[in-house]
């Protein structure tokens, strides 16, 4: 299948000529998912009455989380533990380390309050499922193969960053309330339950067991993602005012942070033996910011944090940046790192 995809897209993948980058940018910018996000944002700008019902938004997010988990579980059932262990450890470490870098940056350079700095650190420490699926879709479109167990890394990276950021906040604020409840909230929240539950179901059912439900959870996935992105475009555009309020620092952070964390993720991924495609996905996961799991946990543990700031950064700046610019860039970086002889043996 990969060979067929490569034939269909006559682009050279092993070189980084300027033309290739433009071609890749074109492939990315004309994907229905990216265009649907733009349409959603435009609909807010022209004051259209377009809005998905709340229940539909909930349904789409449940579907995406469960489908990603299920696919990952099936892949995990075919993978050997040895090949997953290194990348899994790297994913957890990355997620835990990102808030350690993000918090002081936001606190010192952005001069935001402890609560807001920790909230932003939690959002960036956790991951965005949709950014992950956009990266997977992009790599599939250009014919770059990836390890099938990557959704397991996604599930592993949901929690650690949130916990580290909340512990930083408690330490700086000198309080000890709310962390336990926030951890419980995240553990029992829909993103962990659906991703983790889907993984286990996929693992137990295996390729044959999941066969009958493939039409719903695999074949329809790309289309459902387009609808979800339409709604995310609306939500992101509604945050535009918060972006303006957040000022230049928020915009600069929302663009610089994913580039830095993405590069670190690509480096780490290459180091632990992931393919260029796999390293691109780990880079994307490191670069992405959560807007499902993190906001819920932070609302409980840090009620004084302004949710507008972290959501504006995660949803209105970093998410579209990753979608349009970030993913192709991380792919280039991963390919480049792979040619360094001392990194990828």
């Amino acid at each position: 299948m990969l060979a067929r995809a490569r034939r269909r897209h006559p682009i050279t993948f092993r070189s980084v000529h300027a033309l290739d980058i433009f071609d890749l940018a074109r492939v990315n910018l004309t994907s229905p998912a990216v265009l649907a996000f733009v349409l959603g944002a435009l609909s807010v700008a022209i004051r259209s009455d377009l809005r998905l019902p709340e229940a539909v938004y909930q349904f789409l997010s449940i579907y995406l989380l469960f489908a990603v988990g299920l696919k990952g579980g099936v892949a995990l059932s075919a993978a050997s533990p040895g090949e997953v262990l290194g990348p899994a450890f790297a994913a957890i470490m990355l997620s835990a380390a990102i808030p350690l870098a993000a918090y002081p940056t936001v606190r010192l350079l952005g001069r935001l309050r402890i609560q807001d700095a920790a909230s932003i650190a939690a959002h960036y420490g956790s991951v965005s499922v949709v950014t992950y699926t956009a990266a997977a879709a992009y790599l599939a479109r250009i014919g770059e193969p990836v390890e099938a167990f990557l959704p397991a890394l996604l599930a592993l990276m949901e929690m650690p960053g949130i916990i580290v950021a909340l512990v930083i906040a408690q330490w700086r604020l000198g309080t000890s309330s709310g962390l336990g409840e926030a951890v419980r909230e995240t553990m029992t929240g829909r993103s962990v339950v659906l991703l983790g539950g889907g993984l286990i179901i996929g693992l137990l059912a295996g390729t044959d067991g999941v066969g009958p439900v493939r039409p719903l959870f695999v074949d329809l996935f790309a289309g459902v993602l387009v609808l979800f992105l339409l709604d995310l475009g609306i939500s992101a555009a509604q945050r535009a005012r918060d972006v303006l309020r957040g000022g230049r620092f928020l915009v600069a952070f929302g663009i610089t942070a994913p580039l830095v964390f993405g590069t670190v993720g690509a480096f780490t991924g290459t180091l632990v033996g992931l393919s260029p495609g796999g390293a691109t996905v780990l880079a994307t996961l490191s670069a992405s910011a959560s807007y499902i799991a993190a906001p819920a946990a932070v609302r409980i543990a840090l009620p004084e944090a302004n949710p507008g700031l972290s959501l504006a950064a995660a949803l209105a700046i970093t998410f579209p940046f990753n979608l349009v610019v970030g993913i192709p860039v991380y792919h280039q970086v991963a390919q480049w790192l792979h040619r360094l002889p001392f990194l990828a043996g």
Partner: protein
Amino acid sequence: MATVPMTLLTIVAEEVLEQRLVRALHDAGIAGYTVTPARGEGARGLRHGANGANIRLETITTTEAADGLLDHLRAHYFANYAIVAWLSDVRVAREEKYQPEHR
């Protein structure tokens, strides 16, 4: 059918508070309530989709219990969350249904 006056407590709040608000009702001895999804705009901006949804929680109880719950909301949620709450006078049949259980 004879009706008696009771108090309707209505809370519109961010969805993330639902479980905690329900716990507060149970702690006040209130067994029944209704939750419906809600959307709208307020001091904390438009609330929809990824920006966070709202719920509307309603319960009928005694004025004392409703006042106690408003105090609870004031102590814990009014300052930091998207939340509004109000009391209204209503008339109900079967008043025993709405008496809080004392624990």
